[in-house]
């Protein structure tokens, strides 16, 4: 397939997954802000922006991290390339470019989301509850994903879409977990407190994984169990283990179909092996924030390798 087509498919997946995560971040933020506020410490909303790496661009444009501004920035702002509106628009535009590589149903799902987005943008903000916005995003992200799974040929295009999904999702899970780091930064003695548990639970809830977590672990919510669930557990759909396994799988399928391995497959396997060999104790030893930061950097290196091997069209 054309390198440009593969590139567009890969980015459709990344944008959709990113929009989904941004919606989940908004969910985390609003729920955390419902608990009695921790006076004298940085705002929870600010920690959320820190985790996404968008704190500076937000501060420049809006100043104070109050909820309404955060909503504007993360949902509607076209100047923010990671806002829901930007991501949905870019995904639909990429879909339009590669319509021949998509089924009517996938296109329909992308296009419907875009048309509804335009209607939302015309709706007075006073009529838009945050929960309505976040649910709307998750619903449309799921519809696109479902249409892909139900109708697309299992060819290289399908693999590149999935590579985009897993890459973005792994990266985003790491960033969502990092919100915890920024929230907790001011006072280490909060660890293990009721507040701490509430925050962890909120995080799980935002990932739609609260009940799944209880089924898998039962009993009390602890930092160690959650780290295990979100990083190491292959049953968890968003865990770093699941994402790296998905990457290895789909990149393996590409290599098999083309009869040729590249440096990208190597890097994916290294990433997966590292996660499989890790333990919660070792991760906490290194420091959760440090571990996640390292993971995010490795994912970026892998993305670069994928780009060079398949998407840029530069190899001969």
């Amino acid at each position: 397939m054309l390198s440009r087509t593969a590139d567009n498919l890969y980015w459709i997946a990344r944008y959709m997954e990113r929009a989904d995560t941004v919606a989940r971040l908004l969910e985390v933020g609003s729920r955390i802000s419902l608990i009695p506020s921790v006076h004298g410490y940085r705002s929870e909303w600010d920690s959320l922006l820190q985790a996404t790496g968008m704190a500076d661009s937000f501060a420049k444009k809006y100043g104070d991290p109050v909820q309404r501004n955060i909503e504007s920035f993360l949902f509607f702002d076209r100047d923010n390339p990671s806002s829901v509106a930007s991501c949905f628009t870019a995904a639909r535009e990429n879909g339009r470019i590669v319509r021949t590589a998509l089924t009517t149903q996938v296109w329909d799902a992308l296009n419907t989301a875009f048309q509804e987005l335009k209607a939302l943008e015309r709706t007075p903000r006073s009529e838009l509850e945050l929960s309505r916005l976040t649910e709307w995003v998750m619903r449309h992200a799921a519809m696109v994903r479902g249409a892909i799974d139900a109708t697309l040929l299992r060819n290289d295009g399908y693999n590149f879409l999935n590579i985009g999904y897993y890459l973005e999702r792994g990266d985003n899970t790491a960033r969502l977990m990092d919100v915890k780091y920024y929230v907790l930064l001011p006072r280490v003695d909060f660890v293990g407190s009721g507040l701490d548990n509430y925050q962890w639970t909120t995080l799980l809830r935002a990932m739609g994984a609260q009940r799944a977590f209880h089924w898998a672990y039962g009993g009390e919510v602890t930092a160690a169990k959650i780290a295990d669930f979100l990083i190491l557990n292959p049953q968890s759909p968003r865990s770093l283990a699941t994402c790296s396994a998905g990457l290895v799988n789909h990149m393996g399928r590409v290599a098999k179909a083309y009869g040729r391995e590249t440096a990208a497959q190597d890097k994916a396997r290294v990433l997966q092996a590292e996660i499989e060999g890790a333990t919660v104790e070792a991760i906490f030893e290194e420091g959760l924030h440090e571990y996640l930061t390292r993971f995010i950097a490795e994912v970026a290196v892998l993305a670069q390798a994928i780009n060079e091997a398949y998407l840029s069209g530069e190899m001969r």
Binding site: M1, R96, N111, L311, G313
Partner: protein, 463 residues
């Protein structure tokens, strides 16, 4: 549709259909049709009129109908014309016999902006320059057809022919059960066969065909992607292709893959920055060298535009006689060339009665419809003609036929034209149908979508 007091035979059944359709159902169906167009994402500004790539063109549910015998005559006339136009192109890039014979002025050809010196002396694969010939036709009487214009470069709008049919079949299946309507869905297969049949000599085995688009901002992008999809070929942009050695290649996830036939939907000027416009970002550097050495076929061939100029148009009937030794089946609209002093005098005298067009204009822009214009507009146009007469041609306003069309109040006659798409490769063929454009404003003669025109499904009835 109506003839005297009765209904013309091809429309007989439709008359009953309309009579039996209540107003509410009609509105419902119209809304459904528009929703379908929007959902599928069929957006278009037909004939390269530019504008918003997301704009929808109005769709009229009342089909336009041709009887089998009417179509048979049209088909013969169109194929004949397509053959003559291609013979002309091969000739003027070769020995120029028609010019030596004094049948067409040399300056009209060699000083024409669309004449590409870069391909002089070159004969493309199978001797075809224009592979998709779109001929715009109007009807003025029961058995009288006139050609308004030939389009030899990259005529657009065929997606409307295909999608209008698709939507009509979905909404009114009973019409297709009751009437014997010739299918148009063989178009993409014929197009693919046509393109493959002109693969270059150096190509061995199954040729790789691609469609070259300027990109998704182009108003006809939907059509480009639909055709690629229906044919199962890659839709490429200039950046996806490159030249290496004697061939043209595309960048794929598996490495470079050779390309044999390029159905380009970009203008000559943008094809190759080394040969034409150096600032073009759309084209492929070095493509013309590969083309001229037989490494790749370009459809339509660069330079084909010299045959569809509005000034050259006047000579097409002569081309038919000169190259084919036949009498033209389809007539030209009588045309005055303002560059000729006698014609100019006549045009200036009769200006309020005439339609005047720019030689290179398109899309209903830069034209004067005399009878529909104010005195002031006529005078303004007169000044433009006097300033540069060679840039204008004039035609009488024909008594254009009209066909029934759904309007606010019910059904009313509206003027239409027709563009069938003739495919020229190893053989010449066309599907029974075409793009019917309709002027939705009462009395309007202009069918361009930029001027309030819409489209209809075009039916050819089986014997």
């Amino acid at each position: 549709m109506y003839q005297g007091t009765g209904v013309r035979p091809p429309y007989a059944r439709l008359d009953d259909w309309v009579a039996a359709m209540p107003q509410e159902l009609r509105s419902l169906k119209q809304a459904e049709a528009e929703a379908l167009f929007r959902r599928i994402g069929i957006t278009f500004a037909v004939y390269g009129e530019g504008g918003d790539p997301d704009r929808l063109i109005p769709f009229d549910m009342f089909p336009r109908v041709f009887a089998a015998a009417e179509w048979a005559k049209l088909e013969r006339g169109i194929k004949q014309r397509a053959r003559a136009l291609n013979a002309f192109l091969v000739d003027v890039y070769g020995r120029g016999e028609i010019i030596r014979a004094g049948r067409i002025p040399a300056r009209l050809v060699y000083q024409n902006e669309a004449y590409e010196k870069a391909v002089a002396g070159f004969v493309p694969s199978k001797g075809v320059y224009s592979h998709i010939v779109g001929i715009d036709i109007v009807r003025t009487g029961p058995d009288e057809f006139y050609v308004l214009e030939d389009n030899c470069r990259t005529p657009s709008g065929v997606s409307y022919m295909l999608e209008s049919r698709e939507i009509m079949m979905r909404m009114f299946p009973e019409l297709f059960r009751e009437n014997r309507i010739e299918p148009v869905d063989g178009y993409s297969e014929k197009l693919r066969r046509t393109l493959a049949s002109v693969a270059p000599k150096k190509c061995k085995g199954e040729p790789t065909v691609v469609i070259l688009t300027p990109g998704h901002f182009n108003s006809a992008y939907y059509e480009h992607s639909l055709l690629a999809d229906l044919m199962g070929v890659e839709l490429v942009e200039g950046q996806d292709l490159f030249v290496d050695g004697e061939y043209c290649w595309m960048r794929t996830t598996e490495g470079p893959r050779r390309v044999d036939v390029i159905y380009r939907r970009i203008d000559d000027a943008y094809l190759d920055p080394l040969c034409f416009r150096p600032d073009s970002m759309l084209g492929i550097p070095g493509l013309m060298d590969v083309y001229r050495s037989g490494g790749v076929s370009i459809c339509s061939a660069p330079g084909a535009g010299v045959a569809d100029d509005k000034a050259v148009y006047c000579y097409v009937p002569d081309m038919v006689r000169f190259y084919l030794g036949e009498e033209p089946i389809l007539k030209n609209v009588p045309t005055w060339q303002c560059g000729k002093s006698d014609d100019l005098k006549y045009v200036l005298d009769q200006l309020p009665e005439l339609v005047v067009k720019e030689v290179h204009g398109s899309g209903g822009y830069g034209m004067l419809v005399g009878p529909k214009s104010s005195r002031e507009e006529v005078e303004r146009f007169r000044a433009k003609i006097v300033e540069d007469p060679g840039n204008y041609i004039a035609q009488p306003t024909l008594a254009l036929s009209s066909v029934p069309t759904f309007v606010e109040e019910g059904v009313a006659p509206r003027h239409v034209d027709l563009r069938p798409y003739c495919l020229v490769g190893e053989r010449i063929e066309l599907v029974p149908g075409g793009l019917t454009r309709v002027a939705l404003k009462e009395g309007s003669l202009v069918v361009n979508s930029s001027q309030g025109g819409g489209v209809k499904d075009t039916w050819v009835l089986a014997e």
